[in-house]
Symmetry: C2
Subunit: 362 residues, 2 copies
């Protein structure tokens, strides 16, 4: 019997499981969003996010899913006469190109097969045409469990195309994978909090470079809800332009405190260890869907080499243990399956889950 | 000492005070937004909202503040060649006109002084020009505490201008004031949940007519995040197009259960009684800012006829009782002050607050 009040424990690649102490942060008494209590909350939270993202530039809190920032980055920073190059390697990077088109912008795509990375030389070749104002990159493609080599891409771009704006979807990467925003020379990066921040969905975090903000001043048709200029103006008072999702910002404050205390190097190492553990199991029992070099440390996509019925295994584990993991995404359903290992998920949690899968496939 | 973890009790006109049992709904275990548990939650919640809004048409849940739906209504339902008439009678109705312009649409304004209603004959006169495709109305102007006579306006529009689309901001009206969506012939109505639903901010509820949805199919530049077509397509599966703010939807489900059980007539009467009580105090001690006929049942704006220092009184009550009410909005600061009486606020709560104000002004 489906009962939303008694949902399964989540190993799907987002929303991920949220610990009880984090959930309780959402239940704190609410605040007036124009009062000093709220400003204190936002100031504290943004300060910590700047440490987590290694930036001295702008950090905005958007009451939306991260996909709102797909639209925001395009509307704010790409003029109607300009063209953006969208790199596509899976369902979510593909979608971003659609979103850019829905905003009436000119879009070219650089497409690779799902499960393959977008490589530095491919991007270089396209940018060399001189046609592009901006490029969209996905750090970690949640549909395939692939991490693109963005540190290498960013080095190349800083050297050869320093004037091209760089927008990065870090939805399932932020917190789990290294991210030095200022050093990488990125212009917009964003994530939802229901991935490695381990908070329920409803809030997106975005870092925006000073030059992107400057450029947005003169881009028409930015609209209202996602206008970076309004975000920047309100940020001066430690506020948001529209009423924010305060419970989630309280939970984010709580999670940021823990992350800053742990130290980001250690947080990334913790995710790396979880990634290694699940990959090692997946290689032994199945195969990795992506080349290991590009396999993500926040989720693993296994190739269903044994021809198991993935949906049946998920169903069985849900019935026995009230726990679910992810089937393959879209066209990769049954051909692959996905296990999240990010946020507050632990190695012990993963051992338990993989043990249950082992029992089902034995 | 400002401490966001120990905030004041709220009588500002939103966010309003949220009861502990409602806050606890936000702390429920989270769900996968593509799983059957989430669909069950959304289906239940939307069914109850349809009863609350008296509609058989479309109800959407938007992870945004209600101001996102200002933008959505315009982007989805007003073409670039068309003109929308924005009726303006306070800070928020004024802002909606700005938002429509920021979406690149043609806007004419029908402006009255703050604190005055937009009357049926004024709207009739403008619509008679034949220039307009749509009109924006604000049911309850939160900045002035004024309720526009929308039942009368709607009767006139249904009779004389049945083809003109009607968009209604019901941010501080929905739940607190009568709202029969289908019967009124409205096309879009929306509110945030931090007003009379008495939930923390982060979610907006919108009803959208079938004809508005049909029209939006052919309006270009709808963008992505607020595209009604995507909302409608996802609603067929009891889902949202992007990851929704699940904790708030759980709390909304809880609040809707209570509202449906109480019955909307009784809910509106309860608000009316609170309105009468606060107005009677305000008339005795100060004066009403709006003509009584148009004074709202969800918040009262008092004219500061005694020349008190409003900010000082609010500060004193915060220090003594950790409770705040609202100063006047924008240019009405100090000249007026505002007291919310909606959602889960009770007559006893209001007696307590008004007693404290009496002590300060004695």
């Amino acid at each position: 019997m489906t009962d939303w009040k008694n949902p399964p424990r989540l190993f799907i690649p987002g929303p991920v499981q949220v610990n009880d102490d984090v959930l309780q942060q959402l239940a704190r008494p609410t605040l007036g969003h124009r009062g000093k209590e709220y400003s204190q909350l936002q100031a504290q939270t943004v300060d910590m996010l700047k440490k987590i993202l290694f930036t001295d530039q702008n950090v905005f809190l958007s009451t939306s899913s991260a996909s709102g920032i797909w639209e925001a980055s395009i509307r704010n920073c790409v003029g109607f006469e300009e063209t953006v190059l969208c790199t596509c390697c899976g369902a979510f990077s593909d979608k971003w190109a659609d979103v850019a088109r829905s905003c009436g912008r000119n879009v070219d795509e650089l497409k690779v097969d799902w499960g393959k990375p977008v490589l530095t030389e491919m991007i270089d070749e396209r940018l060399a045409t001189g046609k592009y104002t901006a490029v969209t990159l996905v750090y970690n493609e949640t549909s395939t469990g692939l991490t693109n080599p963005l540190y290498e891409v960013s080095e190349m771009m800083k050297e050869k195309y320093p004037d091209i704006l760089v927008f990065v979807d870090a939805v399932s990467a932020m917190v789990g994978l290294p991210l030095h925003f200022d050093e990488l020379g990125w212009d917009v990066v964003f994530a939802s909090v229901q991935k490695a921040f381990a908070i329920p969905p409803g809030l997106a975090v975005a870092a925006v470079s000073n030059r992107a903000l400057e450029k947005s001043k003169n881009v028409p048709g930015r609209g209202y809800y996602f206008d970076f200029q309004s975000f920047a103006k309100s940020a001066e008072k430690n506020q948001t332009p529209t009423t924010p999702v305060i419970p989630h910002i309280m939970a984010l404050n709580y999670q940021c405190e823990k992350l800053v205390k742990e130290g980001m190097e250690k947080v990334w190492q913790r995710h790396e260890k979880m990634g290694e553990f699940v990959r090692s199991w997946a290689k032994e029992k199945f195969a990795l869907f992506c080349e290991e070099k590009y396999a993500s440390n926040t989720l693993t996509t296994a190739q269903n080499t044994r021809g198991i019925n993935v949906a049946d295994v998920i169903k069985a584990i849900q019935e026995k243990h009230n726990t679910i993991f992810g089937n393959g995404y879209g066209k990769l359903k049954e051909e692959t399956f996905r296990i999240a290992h990010m946020g507050d998920i632990t190695l012990d949690d993963l051992k338990e889950l993989l043990g249950w899968i082992d029992e089902e496939i034995a």
